[in-house]
Amino acid sequence: MAGARPLSTRWTLLLSLVVLLGCLVIPGVTVKHENFKTCSQSGFCKRNRALADDVSAKGPSWTSPYQLDPSSIEFKDGQLRGTILKAVSADEQVKLPVVVSFLESGVARVVVDEEKRVNGDIELRHNSQARKERYNDLEKWVLVGGLELSKSATLRPETEEGFTRVLYGPDNKFEAVIRHSPFSADFKRDGQTHVQFNHQGYLNMEHWRQKVEREGDSEEQSQEDEARWWDESFGGNTDSKPRGPESVGLDITFPGYSHVFGIPEHADSLNLKETRGGEGNHNEPYRLYNADVFEYELNSPMTLYGAIPFMQAHRKDSTVGVFWLNAAETWIDIVKQTSSANPLALGVGSQTDTQSHWFSESGQLDVFVFLGPSPQEISKTYGELTGYTQLPQQFAIAYHQCRWNYVTDEDVKEVDRNFDKYQIPYDIIWLDIEYTDDRKYFTWDPLTFPDPISMEQQLDESERKLVVIIDPHIKNQDKYSISAEMTSKDLATKNKDGEIYDGWCWPGSSHWIDCFNPEAIKWWVGLFKYDKFKGTLANVFIWNDMNEPSVFNGPETTMPKDNLHHGNWEHRDIHNVHGMTLVNATYDALLERKKGELRRPFILTRSYYSGAQRMSAMWTGDNQATWEHLGASLPMVLNNGISGFPFAGADVGGFFGNPSKELLTRWYQTGIWYPFFRAHAHIDTRRREPYLIAEPHRSIISQAIRLRYQLLPVWYTAFHEASVNGTPIVRPQYYVHPADEAGFAIDDQLYLGSTGLLAKPVVSEEATTVDIYLADDEKYYDYFDYTVYQGAGQKHTVPAPMEKVPLLMQGGHVIPRKDRPRRSSGLMKWDPYTLVVVLDKNGQADGSLYVDDGETFDYERGAYIHRRFTFQGSTLVSEDIGTKGPKTAEYLKAMAGVRVERVVVVDPPKEWQGKTSVTVIEDGASAASKASMEYHSQADGKAPYAVVKNPNVGIGKKWLIEF
């Protein structure tokens, strides 16, 4: 080895040089790692990982200490109850009640608790007032339905010794096989195992124990490392942990699945990576602990602002999933094991299993299992439980113009006038924290915003809206009436000693509203009434930021875990759902700000948990004006979409820093594909409203924004679809083509709703083309010139000069549009539609359109239009697929004048060449009429097209056009 020394010294030198250079470059541009825990700095994370390592090392000699007591098992009404016994020592067993519920929807739910804690039969340290139970109230915030127990689920009688088998799901095709000792569970579909619990033996319920004060050098050495069982310090803060160690952990294996997606929010690829090191893998588990991460880094499993502990595993033609219902700090390790193919067993190839290992700091073990088999079924059943995306107001899916900060009410008016001057549409302008008087929410700065009402009125003249920020931290100042009220009514979050918690945020010393308290919600709702929040009109909506909560001087920039919320639940137990409870209260507030004025709320939230989709939109927080961040926005938005929260977007232009004209232009061309489309910028950046950008970029950006507006009917229809069945609004490749393995990991191109519109935004500098991957053999047409691309399983090079948004239309769809540019989406209400009929290989197409008033809840009483357009043979038909309600007729009458102005057929049969007219038959018309049609052939690989002029049919009417 001596000979190697000089070499290694050189290497060390080189390495240290690299490290040194790295140190010089990195500070300031990435996250401050020392502010956030790594797994080894988090006691329970380290313990659970160590357990996994230990179990793996011991191999078959290891036996999990958990067994289901066969005598305790009861099965009744779709529920299996029993007690798991955890062997702690030779003569001590901890009782863990378990309930496995088989739901009507085909979902199975496993809940494990701890008897001693349930019964309050434990002692808390430090005279803590905290609750003794494991947190059991989470479903109140998260679940809204889908809990109906299965009537058909049955115990399988012919079970062998030591197993309990339950048949459930549609046609009882699903089966749960529960092994008693050691306890484990396999979930099967059609006889095949798809999900396994405790297959690796990592199940871990840290039971309550008394702290034993040991003498300095006690001879009796502890069996376990107790170093971080009790008080735990990080970054100068000490967590008192009055209940001691209490984590829950479980391994969940997906046999035969090599792809897993979900568990947002992380700045990472859609296809989740392994987390136990190795080339291209992460070294840390994916973490879910909502936090205000300043200048977050990309390709990282680090935690971000939101948490959805919902994971999907996907393989050819099968998608399954698990939902880990726990709001405490959670980490997820992922390992993929590939078994080599057995050369002797014909037809058995190599198989990859994905093993996930979940652990949370506290709370119950509560897991839902979804057996698919399609991504759509997963979305549907997950949505039944946690709720579907709210159908937003129409304006909310248009273009949002934001900046920290528009500095005066005059500034806002000027920006508003400028958009009109340059004829660029926008719907909403935003105010960040500086509009307030000294960062006191619900007030206006008297010098800079002396007249908010006239500002809002000017916006309303073109049906535009204002969004103002309201955060959960309330400036601690006696003279501030909101603060005084919150204190006197005792509605703030408490510290571990039961006093009002005081921390630092934007206003300096602040208190936090405790939205777990029903009284606090009631009070909060009152604050938004027009007569209370002076200076607001009906066109003002709300942005809830910093709700992780962000506490500048708190541990990991958030609240101490031993803070106490309503009901004396520790912050530890509820942390990840904290942000959503604020949104929940704000949602209630915005529903009815004046008696009788019931409107769909619009709220943007930074922090979220499963269920936030019912009430809000989210954005990916404080990104940066770099190409890398632009690229990262797509997998982040897609991942949120498949995880049940599709109303998502990233700051267009990048929050920190000044984007080049090219980057800004490409970001707009990308941003129009975010369900939530908002430009935002940091206070220190140059002004970058699109009209300020020099030509030709100004026109190019305008074109991108107008393209978004042209396609608003499609977007709104996709939102409607999401609101009834949970489908993502923009969809990744695997979701649309679940059998195409080559596309599973693709996360830089997307399909818009069910329209077959396939976009691949340019996210690299100086690109002139993009390669779009096509999974199927259908014809795809360039949106702007109808160039044909065809060929399954291949990438196709599509031109993408600066002015071009790479966008294809898959054959077989009808795409409704509104082609007339207006100042705002509200002013497009009465405009006619264009229907683009893109024929497939067989000359067929279909599509749908959903329309309502975009504002009220009248759609719940039938005030909407829902049509299906089908082209077959040579006929285009519009049929009603809605359900009539008491308000249907009135709405249809109001919409009677809205018609179809143009029908475009892409790639019509050649026989149409001589055709100059079509026959139009509208329901209720006395006779058929004619409309003129023009056929255009094109050269250079571009498909021909035909345009029907003014068929003059109502959008809400039944009609057919005979070509």
Partner: protein, 568 residues
């Protein structure tokens, strides 16, 4: 916004529009057509697209709410062709006619007759969008289809009246502005004349002064010569002794200076150390969540600084020991033993030449003296001969008086020259066309906006004064007159660039986390000098919109004003 009765009126746009096209109003122009375009719509059967005569359509297709012409000329009264714009990305289907044609709208917009007011165009994208655009279309004719029940009553009578009143005021104000401009021009040219007069006067005075200086210098030389020819020799110590004495006091002086400087250095070092301490704690403890670019920059700056080395590494013990040694007072053992040097007498005295002179006749003395002075000067200049210690021999009163007179005269010459220079450079300074801003120099105007009062002093500086108290910040010092391009709307509602005179101010107070403040004052014509609006375009880069009669068009042709077009 939605009135349920709207549906009654919404019987169908197409039907309405056909009626409009056929029947029209008395002048039989189709809806939305201005008189100047009426000629294109005369043919009773067919319509020819204005910019694309090859495309002809039946007249019934005019205003049928469907876009047929690539220039949009078939839809003067609807929004059907509103998408024909460089702001829209088009697909072949909604590009009427041939794909390759350039799509430029032939009509400036929807023509509102606005009877009782003045006619104007409203952009097509605002036609039938449910909003009464009274600002452009006071007769409400842009909302003829009454979508969603929109009814826009004709308000031209009141709006027109209001407008005329305003217009009248505007005219008056313009007249007043031009008058003020003329006054400014007169004042500017008067001031310019004054400067020119001053230059002339100064040039004369300088000439005279130069002569005076010359005379006085001659006088001084005379006096000096006379004085030097007198032998003045006081009792002095030997030259070396004098040197030693001087050197000693000099060394003492330097030593005490060294001690002072060292003390200062140590104080400064202590302060730097304290600052470095503050900064390194700052780096560790700062909270990145405040999202403050300035703080981040400061941390980065500190890190760069720290990489180059902090005070820790800078202290040098050896050097300090040397300095300690040097700082000790001199005695026999250390430093220089001055005693030894001070008591030494010289054998040779260079001032012998002066003593000799006393024994020669004056003419010879003069000659020799001249030569000696020359030689001595040469030797002194080359460091061969030490300078006669002037301090040792006190100068006579006469000489010093003569010298003072020269100095005084030179000084006043210099003053005059610098005055001249200032005036000349003032004359060369760009004060805009006809030097008009000369008359505004130093005139200050203010504006309250948000948290600040802003001040603009023409050709001097811009300032920001916080209303909540605290010191004001200079937003820039005047650097020059320039021009900026401003986007304005033309009659058709298109954005067109227009050049404006700007006054540029730079190098103001630095921002805590930004550049030195700067301001561009963009001028437009107005009766008063008024700040209309102040904006911070980017961090600490401001723009001010200011009105002033100085930039109103015409009027430069006043007396003494150079003719010529406004350079902007």
């Amino acid at each position: 916004m939605i009135l349920p009765q709207g549906s009654l009126f919404f019987a169908g746009i197409a039907a309405c529009s056909t009626v409009a096209a056929a029947a029209g109003d008395a002048s039989s122009r189709p809806r939305g057509v201005a008189p100047e375009f009426a000629k294109f719509y005369k043919d009773p059967d067919t319509f020819t697209c204005i910019s694309h005569p090859a495309i002809q359509i039946p007249l019934s297709a005019v205003n049928d709410d469907y876009c047929d012409c690539p220039d949009g000329s078939d839809e003067p009264g609807t929004s059907a062709c509103a998408h024909l714009s460089r702001n829209s990305a088009l697909t072949p289907a909604e590009r009427p006619g041939n794909d390759d044609l350039e799509l430029v709208a032939a009509l400036p917009g929807f023509y509102c007759k606005n009877k009782g007011h003045k006619p104007s165009y409203v952009p097509f994208q605002r036609v039938n969008d449910g909003i009464c655009d009274y600002e452009l279309c006071c007769d409400g004719s842009d909302e003829w289809a009454r979508v969603g029940g929109t009814k826009c009553a004709d308000k031209c009578k009141e709006i027109g009246k209001e407008w005329r009143k305003k217009e009248e005021q505007k005219q008056k104000s313009m007249t007043a502005a031009l008058k003020k401009k003329k006054e400014l021009l007169d004042e500017a040219s008067r001031q310019r004349k004054e400067v020119e007069d001053n230059i002339q006067r100064l040039e004369g005075e300088i000439q005279a002064q130069e002569l005076k200086v010359k005379d006085l210098q001659v006088e001084l030389e005379e006096v000096e010569k006379q004085e030097q020819s007198k032998v003045v020799k006081g009792k002095t110590a030997g030259k070396l002794g004098v040197l030693a004495g001087l050197a000693k006091s000099r060394v003492e002086e330097l030593r005490s200076a060294l001690v002072d400087v060292r003390k200062e250095r140590d104080d400064t070092r202590a302060r730097v150390k304290e600052l470095e301490g503050i900064l390194s704690t700052f780096k560790v403890e700062y909270n990145p969540n405040f999202n403050d670019e300035g703080v981040k920059r400061a941390v980065r700056g500190w890190e760069d600084y720290a990489v180059r080395g902090t005070l820790e590494g800078a202290e040098n013990g050896a050097q300090d020991r040397d300095l300690d040694e040097i700082a000790k007072p001199d005695d026999e053992k250390s430093g220089i033993n001055w005693e030894q040097w001070e008591n030494e007498d010289e054998g040779c005295d260079s001032s012998i030449v002066y003593q000799l002179a006393a024994y020669f006749p004056p003419a010879f003395v003069d000659f020799v003296e001249d030569k000696v002075v020359l030689a001595k000067g040469f030797l002194e200049d080359n460091g061969i001969l030490s300078k006669a210690a002037e301090s040792a021999t006190t100068e006579s009163k006469l000489v010093s008086e003569a010298r003072d007179s020269v100095k005084a005269a030179e000084k006043s010459l210099k003053d005059l020259q610098s005055q001249l220079k200032n005036h000349r450079s003032d004359l060369d300074t760009d004060y805009g066309v006809a030097s008009i801003f000369r008359a505004l120099k130093g005139v200050c105007i203010t504006k309250d906006a948000g948290e600040y009062t802003y001040e603009h002093c023409f050709m001097d500086q811009t300032k920001q004064i916080p209303k909540k108290g605290g010191s004001s910040s200079r937003m820039g010092k005047f650097v020059g007159i320039g021009s900026v391009s401003v986007d304005v709307l033309n009659e058709a509602g298109d954005v067109v660039p227009e050049d404006r005179v700007s006054l540029d101010y730079a190098n103001g107070q630095s921002c805590w986390n930004g550049p030195a403040r700067s301001t561009t004052v963009i001028l437009e014509c107005g009766e008063e000098n008024t700040i209309l609006k102040v904006a911070e375009d980017e961090k600490c880069v401001y723009s001010m919109r200011v009105t002033s009669p100085a930039v109103c068009a015409s009027g430069e042709e006043g007396p003494a004003a150079p003719k010529g077009k406004d350079e902007l």
